[in-house]
């Protein structure tokens, strides 16, 4: 018997709603009625419904909403959806702190999706108290401040697509504009985070292509969003020979065709690279709650763009080593855990 789920995925970038949708589509396929709420600036342009399918609904809050309006919208959603399961991604107090006073009075199963959090925030906002209001803490694929909590359960990383939904190597390379017969390694620079970083990915891709020349094709991947078409920088003349972005979402689908992934240290980029066995070279971007430098392994982390260039050049070398795939369906396990420990309680 399906139940009503509300997945709270507020927060910037694409990480929150992508992880949430990975869970939502599995839950929907199990017969649950799922509403995902997001306020990301990316969400209006990204066709989330196409991957979620029937049984799941996305509620996109205006990213411009102020705190009071967000609080009101969340209260309205709780009242309207009347979920039997509330799943909160990352922020146990809510992105604006609005959930903290509500949680003790909510009569429903409460699940926290618990990833890394800035320890200063955890300490100064007494996040530990809010964590106690949850019935289950799911820790999807990386360490987190309360991962030792008695109600915390680790799972494999949650990805948006199941293994059989990834494109084959030849098809993925074709989609990225590379002839399947072309044996050269393909370098993909992932644009994500915010508009500035999407544009910066384009600049990095362009410089990489100039550096690598004919030894490797470079592609600049970007999700659909308000930064298309990417505007030229205000100061200075428009860049000549700038690579054009390839609109790709979800990028996981084409990862089997990528030999070296260049990007940042956000949850999805990192987990998708590791699970698909794609070598990753990444800059740790500054985030308010997320510590990308902590998430990235030493062999993945480039501290400067110059270091990033050198690492990519070295990887392109004689042979690109691809690690084995490690996909194991963390989102599926998470849904099973929620059904078993929250809904049957």
């Amino acid at each position: 018997m399906g139940t009503r789920w509300l997945i709270y995925a507020l927060g910037g970038g694409m990480g929150h709603f992508t992880r949430a949708c990975g869970l939502a589509r599995v839950a929907a396929r199990r017969g649950h009625r799922v509403t995902v709420v997001t306020n990301s600036v990316f969400a209006p342009a990204v066709p989330l419904e196409d991957v979620l399918g029937a049984g799941a609904h996305v509620h996109r809050l205006n990213p411009d909403l102020a705190k009071a309006a967000v609080r009101e919208a969340v209260e309205c959603l709780l009242d309207g959806v009347r979920p039997e399961v509330l799943v909160v991604d990352t922020f146990p107090r809510g992105l604006a702190g609005e959930l903290a006073p509500l949680l003790p009075g909510l009569r429903m199963g409460k699940v926290l999706v618990h990833r890394d959090l800035n320890p200063t925030y955890v300490e100064r906002f007494n996040v530990a108290a809010a964590v106690e209001d949850f019935d289950l803490l799911l820790v999807p694929g990386e360490d987190a401040p309360f991962s030792q909590h008695p109600r915390a359960v680790r799972t494999a990383p949650w990805l948006l697509l199941e293994r059989d939904e990834w494109l084959g190597r030849a098809q993925a390379r074709q989609q990225l504009g590379v002839d399947p017969e072309d044996a050269r390694p393909l370098v993909a620079v992932m644009g994500s985070g915010n508009a500035e970083e999407v544009a910066e990915a384009g600049a990095i891709a362009t410089r990489l292509q100039a550096r690598l020349g004919a030894s490797a094709p470079v592609r600049w991947l970007a999700p659909p969003g308000p930064w298309f078409p990417v505007r030229p920088a205000k100061s200075g003349a428009p860049a000549r020979n700038m690579l054009q972005p390839v609109r790709v979402w979800p990028a996981l689908a084409v990862m089997p065709g990528v030999d070296i992934l260049v990007g940042a240290g956000g949850y999805n980029t990192v987990q998708e690279a590791r699970v698909t066995g794609t070598p990753l070279v990444a800059l740790a971007r500054a985030r308010r709650y997320d510590r990308q430098a902590v998430r990235l392994r030493p062999e993945e982390l480039a501290r400067t763009e110059a270091e990033l260039m050198e690492r990519v050049v070295a990887l392109v070398g004689p042979r690109v080593a691809r690690a084995p795939e490690t996909y194991s369906g963390g989102a599926r396990d998470a849904v099973a855990l929620i059904e078993r420990t929250v809904l049957s309680a």
């Binding site: 600036v41 107090r93 925030y121």
Partner: protein
């Protein structure tokens, strides 16, 4: 419409989000012509009563009008190229002022800049 009184003090204030002070203005700054409340009146190096912005700018005439300074101090300028938070957004027009915006009065408890926007920056991740 701006949430701040157009009859009030026009000196920019705000810990995170710059906005006109809005308190009842009792004077005009002889340098920039803005309406100024008592709290934002100050003596410049010549001893003349001017607004705090002009007093801080000192006697350097080469700086021109203070609109450049205001722009550079407006925190929204950091987000100029960031999606919905650009210079044309409702934030920068002041039409959706968050009632929870910090003011100077909150500054004492927000000495650590890295703390200041937790649960305030709703584009945070």
């Amino acid at each position: 419409m701006s949430p701040f009184s157009t009859d009030g003090c026009e000196v920019s204030t705000g810990f995170l989000f710059s906005h006109p002070c809005g308190l009842p203005a009792g004077a005009l700054c002889p340098r920039c012509g803005k309406s100024v409340c008592d709290a934002h009146l100050s003596s410049n190096q010549e001893g003349a009563l001017v607004c705090t912005s002009c007093a801080a700018a000192g006697d350097d005439d080469s700086e021109g009008d203070d609109s450049t300074n205001e722009d550079s101090e407006d925190p929204s300028s950091y987000y100029e190229d960031y999606g919905y938070y650009g210079s044309g957004s409702s934030w920068s027009r002041g039409s959706s002022k968050d009632p929870h915006d910090f003011t100077e009065a909150d500054g004492e408890s927000l000495r650590h800049e890295q703390d200041a926007s937790f649960e305030e920056d709703l584009g945070g991740s």
